[in-house]
């Protein structure tokens, strides 16, 4: 079940593929290679936040002793999501600079990502303000569920409704992808590699949380 350890092989493969194997894109040239990092990173952020929301729903439905561990898991995945959102913002800005000459363009998509960032930063403020409160888990979970529901609005809908400089995303109007074969393969492999990376980091963070909880329990038992 240690499939996530595959990332040790997959990631170097992706690095090789993204830089040397895949061809340069038509107009942008070599700068287009950033797509193999920007898209997967954004994708992982979305996945992380959905996992946070789902975990929170479970916390609310099943209110049992496992809730504490689940809250830790929701916290961990939100933290990963936050880091990857920042990475998506940065890689997006780099790409923007390479394509249109400036890092920040008041583009709806760039603004949406910033709003997403703020929404999840607010989660951490909420969490620390609720420290010691017995309703902390429930209230944080409600917030994460609300954020998960609102997130698609920002990631998928706003950029489509408002004209954007951002190039067509994977799920675009044609339902087709305008990429060459080799680029498609590289992109999907990269998304797979980053997903494995997410699972790996999440797994480690959760194990650390589990150990922390166990230590706390043993101390109480003494």
């Amino acid at each position: 079940m240690k499939i996530h350890r595959l990332v040790y092989i997959l990631m170097p493969l992706v690095i090789y593929m993204s830089f040397l194997w895949a061809p340069s894109a038509a107009i942008l040239g070599d700068a287009s290679r950033i797509i193999y990092y920007h898209v997967p990173v954004a994708w992982v952020a979305v996945i992380a936040f959905i996992v946070a929301g789902v975990e929170s729903i479970i916390i609310i439905i099943k209110n049992d002793e496992q809730s504490l561990m689940r809250e830790e898991r929701a916290y961990n995945t939100t933290l990963i999501g936050l880091v990857f959102t920042i990475l998506a913002l940065v890689t997006g800005a780099i790409w923007a600079n390479l394509s249109w000459g400036s890092y920040w363009n008041w583009d709806p998509r760039q603004i949406s990502i910033v709003i997403l960032l703020l929404i999840y930063i607010a989660y951490f403020s909420l969490n620390s303000a609720l420290e010691g409160n017995e309703s902390k888990g429930k209230i944080s979970s409600v917030y994460l569920i609300l954020a998960m529901v609102v997130m698609p609005l920002f990631v998928f809908i706003i950029p489509r409704v408002y004209d954007s400089l951002h190039p067509d995303t994977i799920i675009n109007a044609d339902k087709k992808m305008h990429l060459e074969e080799a680029m498609k393969i590289t992109l999907f492999t990269s998304m797979g590699a980053f997903t494995l990376l997410y699972i790996y980091i999440y797994n480690i963070m959760n194990r650390i949380s589990a150990v922390k909880i166990k230590i706390r329990e043993k101390r109480h038992a003494l």
Binding site: P12, I15, L20, D30, R33, A210
Partner: protein, 37 residues
């Protein structure tokens, strides 16, 4: 140009990979010890 960026990315990845590997090993060790306590 690609090769410099690629080297940087490779170095970053090796750093991350080493970190993850060390963490993995350490957490496994602690998990083993804590069950004995």
């Amino acid at each position: 140009m690609p090769s410099e960026v690629m080297t940087v990315v490779l170095v970053i990845w090796i750093g991350i990979a080493l970190l993850l590997y060390r963490l993995d090993r350490k957490v496994s060790k602690i998990e083993g010890e804590i069950d004995e306590l």
